[in-house]
């Protein structure tokens, strides 16, 4: 089939018809801090190769002869790069405009420059694809023949589900005419929305309306020549979303329509919109989803050998004895890995030197990085020319170019960069506060697998809240003793893997020994469980930090679930449970940010009822204006909001 269509296309287009592509070197909206200071989006290396290289490869394969590269920052590096790339197959022209700040501006600029002669392909700088764009453009032309006002065809990839953690921000809702794919409504599914309003008219005017949600904007748009003038005429179009919304709203006035096209399921596309998407793209390139854009088949990188479990090694890379490359990894040319170094799900760029006994997981190490022995690098991105001395410990960090870390230093969740010769450490969580958009960093993925897809990411919380100033209110002696008794038995139970039924018996007997009321029992049991991770971690001599605490707590809750269930049965017990949680959260710093997940968990497991939580939440607000209770209120706010909306939602459903 495809062969035939290809031939048809060839004959139709003829020789003189030059196909044009416009590539915006910057994407203006990408969320890849701090890349924008280092590269334009188009030169961002993915699996050691800049995005532009992949793109040119795809364009040449699709017989696109002219490429306009619209540059607005890092112009020198782009110029240099393009000079090194020039080939006969495609002519690359630079359009330089310093200080352009949005996609709208760029297109207006392109319109005034008048470089566009016919239908063209607009590609945003963060796009990656291996699709045959020529065939797609031809489909767009067929549409134009039917409808003169067809301005643009959105190229969307069907990812089948809205529940992919790394793409959750990107999946969009498309409401379109089922017979010809004319878009009626297009929108990114924002997290907070519960309902989507659609016009009744659409349904009555069209025989069938197709509603798709698992679609991903590939950042590739097949455009008619009318698109740049549309931008020029409407100064309020800044982003692509603005444009689509604007055109759809004023379809009649502008006499333009937007269509969408599903990417063939054999073809691949993924824009690098966030670090999570970057992570996903890198892995999928290594797993060859993007074939033929894979390290061993790209003509300009050559000499990579594809080994089992999706690992690649350059012929000039040197691996010392005992060095393990586990999976989804690549080692670039002239890189050297030391003895017993362990690498998994990571890319290592050109000319990197990695010492002995280094562990690298889930990380991206760009070129010319020097890593000394015994380092541990997890979930991090290290830009080029960095140097890590011995025993550096990194988890979820981003290192700007040329950062030098001294030995034995350890960083978590931070962006490290040099500012006027001084190392500047910024917490990733703090970055969010400035940009108001969450920095989607790929470590979130780990905490997000499983059922919890509603996206309560923990890193949006302010982790630097004040220290626990108010100690827990002193309890009566007997109750205090009971509490420590319970903690002891639970800790022992957890460590020795005792049966929960036995633990319940044990707790009950201590209850009688210390003569505490049943309400106090439930209160204390919850409190004990929540403080247990601290005891456990100090027992294990592991550092107490948020991540450790939370993961241990999670494990413990599932382990002790029977116990919790046993004690929290009545409404009174629920009250006690919530009180205990509140109490614990004020004393245990680590719990605070976990609070809303905990509530959610208990709600889901039917420990706590919706009414009780809401009741507690309202009550909690009225409490003496303690800082802590406000703190807690703030921490669980999103969950409460969700809960309320969920309730409305289900009641709405019944009315429908």
């Amino acid at each position: 089939m495809s062969k035939i269509t290809k031939k048809d296309v060839n004959s139709k287009l003829g020789k003189k018809d030059v196909l044009q592509a416009v590539v915006l070197a910057d994407d203006f909206t990408t969320n890849l801090t701090p890349v924008q200071n280092v590269y334009p989006s188009i030169l961002m290396p993915v699996v050691n190769v800049p995005l532009l290289d992949y793109l040119i490869e795809t364009l040449v394969q699709s017989r696109i002869q002219e490429l306009y590269l619209y540059c607005s920052s890092h112009i020198e590096s782009l110029k240099k790069y393009v000079q090194s790339k020039n080939s006969d197959d495609i002519s690359i022209n630079l359009i330089i405009s310093d200080g352009c700040r949005s996609l709208g501006d760029a297109l207006r600029d392109i319109d005034t420059k008048g470089a566009i002669r016919g239908d063209f392909i607009l590609i945003r700088g963060d796009a990656f694809t291996n699709a045959n764009l020529k065939n797609l453009l031809e489909l767009h032309r067929v549409r134009i023949e039917k409808d003169k006002g067809a301005a643009m065809t959105l190229l969307l990839r069907d990812v089948g589900s809205t529940n992919i953690p790394s793409l959750i921000e990107e999946s969009s809702l498309v409401v379109a005419d089922g017979s010809n794919n004319k878009v009626l409504f297009y929108k990114k599914l924002a997290k907070d929305e519960k309902k989507v309003k659609l016009e009744l008219e659409w349904f009555l005017d069209h025989d069938k309306i197709e509603i798709n949600t698992g679609l991903l904007d590939t950042h590739i748009y097949l455009c008619s020549p009318a698109v740049p003038p549309l931008f020029s005429d409407n100064f309020d179009f800044q982003t692509m979303e603005d444009f689509i919304r604007g055109v759809l709203m004023n379809e009649e006035i502008l006499d333009s329509r937007i269509y969408w096209q599903r990417l063939d399921s054999e073809e691949y596309a993924l824009p690098v919109t966030s670090w999570r998407a970057y992570h996903m793209l890198s892995r999928e390139i290594l797993q060859r989803h993007s074939y033929p854009l894979t390290p061993d088949t790209l003509s300009f990188v050559r000499n990579f050998t594809y080994l089992s479990r999706s690992t690649y090694r350059h012929r000039n890379a040197v691996l010392a004895r005992g060095c393990v490359i586990q999976r989804d990894s690549i080692v670039g040319p002239n890189s050297m890995l030391g003895k017993d170094t362990f690498i998994t799900r990571s890319t290592i760029g050109n000319n990197c030197i990695v010492g002995a006994n280094v562990q690298i997981e889930n990380s991206y190490i760009l070129s010319n990085v020097f890593i000394t022995d015994n380092c541990m690098i997890k979930n991090s991105i290290i830009f080029s020319n960095c140097q890590l001395d011995k025993k550096v410990n990194l988890d979820a960090c981003i290192l700007s170019p040329s950062v030098h870390l001294k030995s034995n230093s350890s960083y978590v969740d931070s962006v490290l960069e040099y500012e006027s010769g001084k190392l500047n450490v910024t917490k990733i969580s703090e970055l969010n506060l400035d940009t108001d958009k969450e920095l989607l960093y790929f470590t979130c993925k780990e905490s997000k697998d499983g059922k919890d897809c509603d996206g309560y990411s923990t890193d949006s919380e302010d982790s630097s809240s004040e220290d626990d100033s108010a100690p827990a209110s002193p309890l009566p002696d007997d109750t205090n003793m009971f509490l420590s008794e319970v903690i002891d038995s639970l800790l022992r139970g957890y460590q020795d893997g005792l049966n929960c039924e036995n633990l319940i018996l044990e707790i009950n007997s201590s209850r009688y020994a210390y003569n505490v009321s049943i309400r106090e029992v439930s209160y204390n049991v919850i409190k004990a469980i929540l403080s247990l991770p601290l005891h456990y971690l100090s027992d294990q001599k592991s550092p107490i930090n948020q991540a450790n605490y939370q993961s241990t707590l999670k494990k413990m809750i599932s382990y002790f679930f029977t116990i919790i269930q046993n004690y929290i049965k009545t409404e009174d017990a629920q009250d006690d449970c919530l009180k205990a949680m509140e109490e614990a959260a004020t004393t245990i710093q680590e719990l605070l940010s976990f609070m809303q997940r905990l509530l959610h968990l208990f709600y889901e497991r039917d420990i706590l009822s919706e009414e009780k939580i809401l009741e507690w939440y309202e009550l909690n607000g009225d409490n003496e204006n303690e800082v802590q209770s406000l703190e807690i209120k703030k921490a669980v706010g999103p969950f409460i909001k969700w809960l309320k909306e969920a309730e409305e939602d289900s009641s709405d459903n019944e009315e429908d």
């Binding site: 349904f203 025989d207 069938k208 197709e210 798709n212 949600t213 698992g214 269930q565 039917d606 709405d652």
Partner: protein, 480 residues
């Protein structure tokens, strides 16, 4: 002839019999008043209005019979029970019928009717409305129901297209045809959205949950719900328990369709602690919608999945699941409006041997074009069905008509494209085009009526001219 076909037939009969006795029961809802066609139903129950000279109820009954049903429960209004029973008796159907009368006066909805006869239903059942005129084989729908072990499977057919040149008798109706909005998942064929367009003002709210769960579905506005449902027994139990539903299509079905999105409350280990008070109707449906232990086992052991784009288990783990069985390209409509009624008749009269009629009757029931007891003296009879004891005098022209029993047509009269019910008398020199004449009406000499409805027992005075009107005794209409 070999003996084999007979044996085969018998075997099939036995099989069919066994299957249906234990698997499905059938309910025909024929108690409707025909509120959208009051002009016609003044004289007789809606289910007995003739279509191609057969009472309307013949069609669903024949449909059931053809698919192998041997018994059916027919729900009719108490007052019409005997009329209907007598009329159906004449049809010579093999299917055994149990007529249940709904106590008169009460205007019961479809769900109420079902609730009324719940004691007679022991298994999953098929509900069919008496106004469904179609050739579709129910067996396919049952198969699609079985395939997914659905809660409800609804038959969806394209809304019939009214030919441009077709004029509905009677005044131009202002009422717009009802539009169903039917949302069907593109991958699994599940019914995910069902509503009537008139339920909405300007916007339709789709919940995020729906969008998330069904990433690709299509909402159709040119299809209609044919009011043929296969319903799981638990739905009936739920219906009996929850008295707030009065209609199937309007209330129960949208509710169940929407309920697919919710999840059953998790059963806590200790039942003592779930207070009874908390059990409101919202969760109640899950007391009825419980997966049978065997089904659970099958589900756990099977690798089957109805969809593959996310990692959810088969059917997303839903116990409640509604499916749409879509049939296109076959004849199917609901004669619940005058327009549809006229359309069904005209479709039959255009050619006497319409294809769907043959499929439906399998050639077994051949309605003689002209009944043996009818007297036809006319020489210009074309595409007509003439029922018993009709008398058509000479020098008349009748084309594309359905002429009911005991009709008298006097000479020099031209009648075309009309439905003439029983006991109608048409005097001399009349011209009748595209009309529906209800039973017992009299058209006096020299009348010319076109595109009209003539009510039961009405007398159209001599030499009158009418076009696109409803001719009926006003007081009669008032009665209703």
């Amino acid at each position: 002839m070999s003996i084999q076909p007979i044996l085969k037939k018998r075997l099939r009969r036995i099989l069919v019999n066994m299957v249906h006795c234990t698997e499905f029961q059938a309910v025909v809802l024929a108690g409707g008043k025909g509120s959208r066609m009051t002009e016609l139903t003044a004289g007789r129950p809606k289910c007995l209005l003739p279509i191609g000279n057969m009472p309307m109820i013949f069609y669903p009954l024949r449909l059931l019979e053809r698919s192998g049903f041997h018994e059916a429960i027919v729900v009719v209004s108490e007052s019409a029970k005997y009329d209907v029973a007598a009329a159906v008796d004449k049809l010579d159907l093999e299917i055994k019928l149990d007529f249940v009368g709904i106590p008169g006066g009460e205007d019961l909805g479809t769900a109420d009717s079902i609730r009324l006869i719940n004691e007679k239903i022991h298994v999953d059942f098929v509900v069919i409305s008496c106004d469904l005129i179609t050739e579709i084989d129910i067996a396919d729908i049952l198969n699609s129901y079985r395939k997914h072990n659905a809660s409800i499977t609804a038959l969806i057919v394209p809304a019939p297209k009214v030919p441009d040149d077709f004029v509905t008798p009677g005044p131009k109706s202002k009422q717009k045809p009802e539009t169903d909005l039917i949302g069907i998942d593109n991958e699994t064929g599940r019914l995910v959205f069902l509503a009537s367009a008139s339920d909405f003002e300007e916007t339709i709210n789709l919940s995020r949950k729906l969008l998330k769960k069904h990433t690709s579905f299509t909402i159709h506005s040119k299809w209609m719900d044919a009011h043929l449902y296969v319903i799981n027994k638990w739905v009936l139990d739920f219906l009996v328990f929850n008295k707030s539903f009065s209609t199937l299509k309007g209330e129960l079905l949208p509710y169940i369709v929407a309920k697919q999105l919710s999840r059953p409350p998790r059963q806590s280990a200790d039942d003592k602690n779930t207070s009874i008070v908390r059990l409101d109707t919202k969760e109640d449906i899950y007391r009825f919608a419980v997966e049978k232990p065997l089904d659970t086992l099958i589900r756990k052991m099977s690798a089957f999945n109805d969809h593959n784009t996310d990692l959810e288990e088969a059917y997303h783990g839903d116990v409640i699941r509604c499916y749409a069985h879509i049939v296109t390209g076959k004849f199917g409509l609901r004669t619940n409006t005058i327009q549809m009624y006229a359309l069904a008749n005209s479709d039959l009269s255009r050619s006497t041997n319409s294809e769907w009629w043959n499929t439906l009757t399998e050639g077994k029931i051949s309605v003689p074009e002209i009944s043996a007891s009818a007297t036809v003296k006319s020489t210009q009879v074309e595409n007509c069905r003439i029922d018993e004891n009709a008398f058509i005098d000479e020098k008349t022209s009748v084309k594309q008509n359905h002429i009911g029993p005991n009709v008298v047509i006097e000479p020099k009269t031209r009648i075309s494209q009309s439905v003439i019910m029983g006991n109608v008398t048409i005097k001399q020199r009349c011209v009748i085009t595209n009309c529906i004449l209800c039973n017992g009406c009299v058209i006096q000499e020299g009348s010319e009526i076109k595109d009209c409805l003539v009510g039961a027992q009405h007398i159209v005075v001599a030499d009158s001219r009418h076009c696109r009107e409803v001719l009926t005794d006003v007081d009669r209409l008032m009665e209703i």
